[in-house]
Symmetry: C2
Subunit: 346 residues, 2 copies
Amino acid sequence: MAEPSPTAPQSYLSLVETCDNFSPARSAEKLATWRLAPGPSSPAIGLLRPSVVLQLINENKGTPDEQKPWSFFLDDTDKPAMTFAPWVDTPAKRTAVMQEMLERWRDTGLYPNVIGPRKWRGEMYPIYRNPFGKNDAPLEEAGDESGLNYAFRMERAACALFGTVTYGVHMNVFLDDPVHGCRIWVPKRAKTKQTWPGYFDNSVAGGIPAGLGPFESLVKESMEEASIAEEVVRSHARAVGSISYFFSTSEGWLQPEIEYLYDLRVPSNADPAPFQPKPLDGEVESFELLPLEDIVPKMRAGLFKANCAGALIDFMIRHGYLTPDNEPDFQEIITRLHGRFEYNTW
Amino acid sequence: MAEPSPTAPQSYLSLVETCDNFSPARSAEKLATWRLAPGPSSPAIGLLRPSVVLQLINENKGTPDEQKPWSFFLDDTDKPAMTFAPWVDTPAKRTAVMQEMLERWRDTGLYPNVIGPRKWRGEMYPIYRNPFGKNDAPLEEAGDESGLNYAFRMERAACALFGTVTYGVHMNVFLDDPVHGCRIWVPKRAKTKQTWPGYFDNSVAGGIPAGLGPFESLVKESMEEASIAEEVVRSHARAVGSISYFFSTSEGWLQPEIEYLYDLRVPSNADPAPFQPKPLDGEVESFELLPLEDIVPKMRAGLFKANCAGALIDFMIRHGYLTPDNEPDFQEIITRLHGRFEYNTW
């Protein structure tokens, strides 16, 4: 595949807008809310495009005495919403209903650019009752959900079909000293990657699968993607916040994302060898230790994966490189990188 | 005045909610938008409660040939809005109209708890065309506005009457070493302060007046409030982001605020004396160097000024003390501390 082509230098806000490029309230296409249970008091867990709403309604064809898995309703303010049917009332049942349906959609060629055989990930992602709030309600049925407090699990690739929030971890491994300034380990994504081939990335980045917490996901990804040993991550990685943004693909699929951020600063008196990332699983072509001033032009030329540019911009804000005195879009950038996913679309 | 009384330990989210306690969209009282010019394309610069709208309409009483400074209109979607009359079309004219009116309101006893003689600050605050975006439109008239790019200036105390965004700087001066852990210099506000007497504060905090940029305001406040020399701040303070939240007073006045945040870490090998804050202008009763683990219980007991608790919580997030693994409200806290001020109220 081709290398990405550099653009003319973009502003930092423009880079953020590439990543946070969708507002449900301003969507040209009308969207329905996906709720866990009927009624507007049930939290929204996703957003559905018209074609998906019709497909779900189509699922309910059949004889009148069959159990139908979906309900369509209008809420108190006449906004359209979909929900599981009342009998689909446990995490295990929801997971099973989704899995059977999605595998059938995949095998019959529905939405091939999202869940086709080449897009299917075979990874289960958690769908939370409330993507922002405490998810501490007891499970109706712990069972195969390992006691975790999400509403159900779903194939990763399908999340974009339903506009459900996905969660990830992004870490910058960096050195900072008076002689060289700030230098960050920057990977280049393999040219064979399905998404963003050949683009630059954050030192370690990956999605959080069902059953793993954020830090444990970071430990796992650090080894799998960058060969950084578990004890190095546990001793030196530090949680530093998150970014959240609403991304829509070029085909209009909806990917609201929350990325938990970590800094791993290589101590100035330490042997740098254990901190040096190396490709392991083929997802990364190479790692390079680049001064921040060399990274910025690459980022502004659009050569970083969009959300990795967002994480780098947050790094530059937290470390004093972008300030309210030197960046005219400072406040707009900060609030766009920490968006709430209000599912008020009508 | 009395010392503040400790509350039962509050969650971090509850502390944030004390500071971000208002949502225009969910306001019980209907609010009008204050726009710079008629028409919904002109950016909102404030929110007006019904009593202020009536007061502004009352300003326009008089003979028909008089120049009236205010216009009331309904926008395209029939939302009520106030604006300056077309002839009030330069920063200097807007500043003059506001100043004459506010001094008259003060002298005739209107809104005594907001702009009465004891509340009046005698400090001019900038009102920007767009509180979040680039404010780089050329001034219609530079004149007495010193070439700065705001729409006009207004008495600080009056900002809460009009729901205009105010800007400030907050800095934590801290030491961090393996022996003592993280320790922060914490001031106690003077018992004679009009707002939040006797509460704990951030090491340095203050509003940004018209004519000063964020960092220059920080330099000024560091000396005035904490006796920290200019060269210490210039060499060691680092911009680390911002928090933004919508605060409403107990009387319902509206104070959306953006606070630019700074960290000043005392280098571990430096003489600590120049970094030690000392009261200077009488606004602070005393400074104490407190371990973070002693600060947290005071904060959770409600003994910090609300927005200073917000800045401390942001500090704890950036420095790895609050993480997505140990704080169930992590994402809710982050997005609430980085709110956008959407003035969609109807």
